[in-house]
């Protein structure tokens, strides 16, 4: 029998973590409880975070939108501010797992699991999201690229939790795109994914491009070379083909059960070709 604590406030949480330093926190449980069942982890106690109001909710804070780490994907998808201002994130969350998984799983959980294939991650990278880490002693803020250190590894120290994710709304008229490649169309682990956030000038040339690939490296990959190549260009097949080649050189995929590295590398580049001008679906924020 494992103890399961369900603190209803942050103060109660710190007390539990202090008394049980080896307890593992979880919210939706869709990753942690699966690992526990598989025998990959065996914590002496569990701390359920789902009852702490301070970890929930979505609110504007100046330029930023603060997303509580305890928000479920379902809540985020239902939130008009996210659908309207952050479609790249909404598109990604819609591909995550399945409806009941989205009802239970949380944004914080997806980040703290830090899987190279985490669906919420590439959009948060192109949004240059910040993470808020909270401990009994206070909070600190880290850009997401510093929060996620490697496969399954985050910057959380002992007694710390992820409390919020901060995103800035991209300028209006930004073009949002997300694509996930899986072996089936739901309940699928991403083989390769691409998040793109692009601003065009009046002549439809790229004024700024942010691109992030998932599942092709130990963590999400942003590629300055590709972003730079697109600057000032119209997104023609020829330009995208060149960018695709640069992308293929930048990604670091591995062979695993689901796909081989060569396939992932090829497709990582191919996904850029989808951005060609005449095929873009209007997806502006």
């Amino acid at each position: 029998m494992t103890a399961v604590f369900t603190p209803t406030s942050l103060d109660a949480l710190w007390q539990v973590l202090a008394a049980h330093p080896n307890a593992l926190p979880y919210a939706g449980g869709t990753d942690l409880l699966v690992k526990r069942r598989a025998g990959l982890i065996d914590p002496p106690a569990l701390v359920h975070l789902g009852r702490i109001p301070a970890l929930r909710g979505i609110r504007a804070e100046g330029d930023w939108l603060r997303l509580g780490a305890g928000c479920t994907h379902r809540e985020l998808l239902a939130e008009p501010r996210i659908r309207q201002a952050l479609p790249v994130l909404a598109q990604a969350l819609a591909t995550l797992g399945s409806p009941p998984i989205r009802a239970m799983g949380t944004l914080g959980g997806n980040l703290c699991t830090a899987s190279p294939a985490g669906d919420a991650l590439p959009p948060l990278y192109v949004l240059d999201a910040d993470t808020e880490i909270l401990g009994a002693g206070g909070s600190r803020r880290l850009p997401i690229r510093d929060f996620i250190r490697g496969p399954g590894q985050t910057a959380l120290g002992a007694g710390e939790i992820l409390s919020a994710v901060y995103v800035r709304t991209p300028p209006p008229g930004s073009w949002h795109h997300f694509e996930k490649v899986g072996l089936r169309n739901a309940l699928a682990c991403s083989l390769v994914s691409l998040a793109a956030l692009i601003r065009f000038d009046a002549e439809r040339r790229v004024a700024e491009a942010r691109l992030a690939w998932g599942s092709v490296g130990p963590t999400v990959i942003r590629c300055p070379a590709v972003e730079g190549r697109l600057l000032g260009e119209r997104l023609t097949p020829a330009v995208l083909a060149e960018a695709a080649q640069l992308a293929r050189q930048a990604v670091q995929p591995i062979d695993d059960l689901r796909a081989e590295a060569d396939y992932r590398r090829q497709v990582a580049g191919n996904l850029l070709l989808r951005l060609a001008g005449d095929t873009q679906v209007e997806r502006f924020s």
Partner: protein
């Protein structure tokens, strides 16, 4: 630990280890064997129940999390002898073959229809994409959910 919760409209107080899975508690302590288990890892949806009206996977819920929650299992959907329109449509339109996915599938459909009372076939498929069926190929299930949606609209009810 003692847990107070509502199951199918009935207030209950149970004694259970805090890490007992909801699927085991419901099936064994409460005899609600309509809640099925087919994978134990969140990949099939057979254990779908409604918690405060939303579809959740009972194999990934621990007893401690159920405190104060209102749970609906398939056994709690019909009103006495009168089937819920989704149940009725499943019966009439051939959406039930072996029946093992059926309870979870119906509850997922109820959650879907409460949120979206007029879904397209594609939206129905998205709404049920977390519930595996090995017998039907989903075709008649989708048709049943669409028919139930029509029936509910005709009756002026929500799911």
């Amino acid at each position: 630990m003692k847990i107070q919760l509502k199951v199918n409209g009935q207030d209950l107080e149970l004694e259970a280890p805090p890490d007992r899975r909801a699927v085991d508690l419901l099936r064994e302590e409460l005899g609600l064997t309509g809640v099925k288990e087919a994978c134990g890892s969140g990949e099939c949806g057979s254990c779908t129940i409604l918690v405060d009206g939303e579809a959740r996977l009972a194999c990934l819920l621990l007893a401690a999390q159920l405190e104060g929650q209102a749970i609906t299992t398939i056994e709690g959907l019909a009103q006495g002898e009168e089937l819920h329109p989704v149940q009725q449509a499943f019966v009439e339109l051939g959406a039930v073959q072996c029946g093992y996915c059926t309870p979870g599938m119906i509850l997922a459909a109820v959650d879907l229809l409460r949120a979206n009372p007029d879904p397209s076939p594609e939206e129905i498929r998205v709404g049920l994409s977390g519930n595996l069926c090995r017998c039907t190929g989903y075709q008649m299930i989708v048709e049943a959910v669409a028919a139930a949606a029509r029936a509910l609209r005709d009756q002026g009810r929500s799911a």
